[in-house]
């Protein structure tokens, strides 16, 4: 098969699948991270304990093993199966959601206590305090670590190739088998992932600037090539380091 045929038949669809999986699992991770993160700041110990258990279990889980489990064990054990892509998205979303919950919790805990007390003094309900006072101030703090987590998630999507989802890495492996030329194939693959990570960072920096402007903070100055990762006290990769 000609290389150009291969690119249109496998590589570009693979790129599209990679983008889709990144978007879906990021959405799922976000939807999990927010409630879990908020519940982990709850004054009730049982709520904190349950949300914390979710965090600890999925932080201790290897995303790849969990993905294999969803794709191969669940059908045999429980008698129903996911589409391979759904198994990948669920596994990625649930594990990265746990890391995300630490970002949400840490950023909420970093909001000055006086702000919460002001809300109490103004007779705000708990929900109002969260929506109108705490989250708007914590949000700009969450974006830099979310950016780092998003890059980790993008890298993690390559794992779906191992459960037979035809993403970009899967296409690359096929391509290598067809052309028997490893170096160009894997170099292209790595460069495309890097470019995607770069584009994600640009997008997240825009969001961050917007969010900071909304609460009257000046954006941090970062050059175009100022590194892909954002500086943050919360380590999104290991899920540690947030304010207590």
């Amino acid at each position: 098969m000609m290389t150009s045929d291969f690119i249109t038949a496998w590589f570009l669809p693979g790129l599209w699948i990679t983008v889709q999986i990144t978007v879906y699992s990021a959405a799922l991770a976000f939807v999990i991270a927010f409630p879990i993160g908020v519940l982990r700041t709850s004054p009730l110990w049982i709520v904190r304990f349950l949300a914390g258990t979710y965090f600890e279990i999925f932080r201790g889980t290897s995303a790849l093993v969990f993905m294999f489990w969803m794709a191969f064990t669940v059908p045999m054990l429980f008698g129903f199966s996911f589409l391979p892509m759904a198994a990948g998205v669920l596994a990625l979303g649930m594990t990265y959601g746990a890391y995300g919950s630490e970002i949400v919790r840490g950023a909420l805990a970093a909001v000055p206590v006086a702000q919460r007390e002001a809300g109490v003094a103004l007779n705000f309900t708990k929900g109002q305090r969260l929506r109108k006072i705490e989250i708007p101030q914590a949000w700009p703090e969450m974006l830099p670590p979310f950016n780092n987590l998003l890059i980790e998630l993008l890298k993690g999507t390559s794992l779906v190739s191992l459960i037979a989802v035809a993403d970009m890495t899967f296409a690359g492996n096929l391509w290598r088998l067809v052309t028997a030329e490893s170096a160009p194939v894997y170099t292209v693959l790595l460069v495309v992932y890097f470019v995607l990570a770069f584009l994600l960072t640009r997008g997240m920096r825009l969001l961050e600037r917007h969010a900071k402007a909304r609460i009257g903070q000046a954006p941090e100055k970062v050059g175009l090539l100022g590194g892909l990762r954002s500086k943050s006290s919360i380590d999104a990769v290991t899920g540690t380091g947030g304010a207590k």
Partner: protein
């Protein structure tokens, strides 16, 4: 749901073999990540642009691309012009190299956390560069970042099953082989639980360590 404990029993010998390989990969990978990361961190502070710039570019590139593809690259491309490595060796090099770019950031933060006065004091005492690093800066920097480094070891543990994709027989590799040979499904569940059982106490331990070493 039909869980069969006798399958678990049959799998256990393979499991211990796999665990040993995983721990081996982790130990050697950690060694590479810790030493290479320190090298990157120091090189990134070099006053020579032609050292600083390439090192920064390479570490940024490695850190922001998937480990899995890097493993494929190491396993298939390197033998074309270099040494042929076994899957486990390739996995160790891949894990170590990938995570060295993370530990470099940890060291960098630690080094930046050393007060400027310490550098000035070393200059005032006209200590040579090597002594400044080994006797003044690194001992203070590394102590504070030990828990952060440890957290990356836990992360590396969770990424280590990726070496099964190039054929290393770690925990996941053993489980995959067992599953395909016997048409049973208990093995992957056991491995999944094993990761949590190892990772959770490790992160609790690191939290305790953090309380004692930092601040």
């Amino acid at each position: 749901m039909n869980w069969d404990w006798s399958n678990v029993e049959d799998f256990m010998p393979h499991f211990w073999d796999g665990l040993l390989v995983t721990l081996q990969a982790l130990a050697w990978g950690t060694l590479i990540a810790f030493s290479l990361g320190l090298l990157w961190a120091i090189a990134q502070r070099s006053d020579q642009v032609w050292i600083r710039w390439p090192v920064t570019a390479i570490t940024e590139f490695i850190r922001n691309t998937p480990l899995l593809v890097q493993l494929f690259f190491l396993f298939t491309v390197v033998p074309e012009f270099g040494p042929t490595m076994s899957p486990l060796t390739t996995g160790i090099v891949g894990l170590g190299l990938h995570y060295s770019t993370y530990t470099a950031e940890v060291y960098r933060a630690g080094i930046e956390g050393v007060p400027v006065g310490q550098w000035e004091a070393a200059t005032a005492l006209s200590l040579p560069k090597r002594r400044t690093w080994t006797a003044i800066i690194l001992p203070q920097a590394i102590r504070r970042v030990i828990p952060a480094l440890g957290n990356y070891v836990v992360s590396m543990l969770k990424d280590s099953p990726q070496i099964a994709a190039i054929g290393a027989l770690d925990m996941l590799g053993e489980a995959k082989g067992f599953t395909q040979a016997t048409f049973t499904y208990e093995a992957i569940s056991i491995v999944g639980i094993a990761f949590i059982v190892i990772a959770y106490p490790a992160s609790v331990l690191l939290r305790v360590l953090e309380r004692r070493l930092v601040r």
